[in-house]
Symmetry: C2
Subunit: 207 residues, 2 copies
Amino acid sequence: MSRIDTLVLATRNPKKVPELRAILADAGLDVEVRGLDGYPDAPEVAETEPTFTGNALLKARAITAHTGLPAVADDSGLRVDELNGMPGVLSARWSGRFGTESGDRDSANLVLVLDQLADTPPQRRGAEFVCAAALVLPTGEEHVVEGVLRGSLIAEPRGANGFGYDPIFVPEGETRTTAEMTPEEKNAVSHRGTAFRALARKVRDLG
Amino acid sequence: MSRIDTLVLATRNPKKVPELRAILADAGLDVEVRGLDGYPDAPEVAETEPTFTGNALLKARAITAHTGLPAVADDSGLRVDELNGMPGVLSARWSGRFGTESGDRDSANLVLVLDQLADTPPQRRGAEFVCAAALVLPTGEEHVVEGVLRGSLIAEPRGANGFGYDPIFVPEGETRTTAEMTPEEKNAVSHRGTAFRALARKVRDLG
C-alpha cells in the first residue's frame, strides 16, 4: 500500500485531474486525485518566483497547508535559446498589457516571440518546453521533478491542437508542431507528461 | 600625428557626429568625423547578430568597405537581470508589432519591460545599459570596446530627457533616472560615453 492515498492537484482546470489520475494508474498506483473544485477557499497563489521549480513549490505548499493533504502543482513554460531562456516563467504573460488588450493572450504571446525572432535564422531557433512538478506532503517533505522537450521554433504557426506556443514548436525528430499532434501523441513526449510520469514514480517510491 | 585623420561614424543621426567629435577632441586628437550624410548610397545594415559587438562590427565593416575610410559604429541596449539579459540586442524592437502598431515604439518597449517585471521585487530589478563601439580600418584591422552602466529599473517612468528605457533606469549611486539627468550628466556616466571615450584612447594609441 502506498504511503500516499489521496493527492490534491493545484488546478482549477477540470481536464488536468483525469490526466494525472491516468498517469498514476499507468504507474500501478491506486491514488485518489482531487482538483480544487472541492476547495473553493483554496488560496490563489501568484507565480512570483524566477524559476519553474520555485513556482511549483509555492503552489503545492499553499495547497498542502490549506487542505492538510499531499499536494501536487506544476509550472511550465517555453525557454527560447535566442532569448537567453526567456519567456520562461513569464511564458503566459510575455506580451503584458498588449496580450490583455488584444483579448487573445496566447496569440499575442506567440506573435511577440515570432517578432522577437524575426531576424533569427533557423539554426539559431532552438527552444524547449519545460515543466516542473512539485509534490509537498503535510510532513513538510518536498519533491520536485522536471520534464523537458527540446525542439525549435518555426516562423508560421501550424495546427489547431494544444495551446500557447504549440503552433510554432516542432519537437526534435518531428516534422509536425505540437499543435499538429493528437493530445495522446503530445502527452507521450511532452514536458508535462515527462514530469508527471517522473512524479508518479516518486509517489510509488514513497510507498 | 595620428595614423587616423578621418573617421566615418555609421549613423544618420546628426546629433551623434558632434558628440564623437567632442570626445575625440577631449582626448587631444585632431580627427575629422563625418556622418553618413555625405554617403547617400551607404548600405543599410540589418542588426542580425546576437551580440552588440557583432552588430557594431557588422555596421563598421560595411561602412569601411563602402567609403574606403576608417569607420566607427556602435550598438547599444538594455540587459535586464530578471529577463536573463534580454531585451539586449532586441532593445529597440522588443515589443515587435505591438510597438509598430502603437506608433510609439519607445513607449511600447518600455511598458512591455515594465509589465514583464510586474511581479519582480526591487531587489531583483537590476539592469545595465551596454554599448559596443567598433572601429574598423581599411587594412582590415578591427577594434571593439564596450561601455556598461549598471543600475536598476523603477516601476513608474520619470523624466523627459533621453530616449528608450531612460525614464525607468536609475544608475547605481543615483536617485534620478537617466531621463532626469541633463545630456551632459548622462554622457559623463553613460554606456555610450564610456565606450566612445575608450574608443578615443584606442585611436590615440594607434597614432
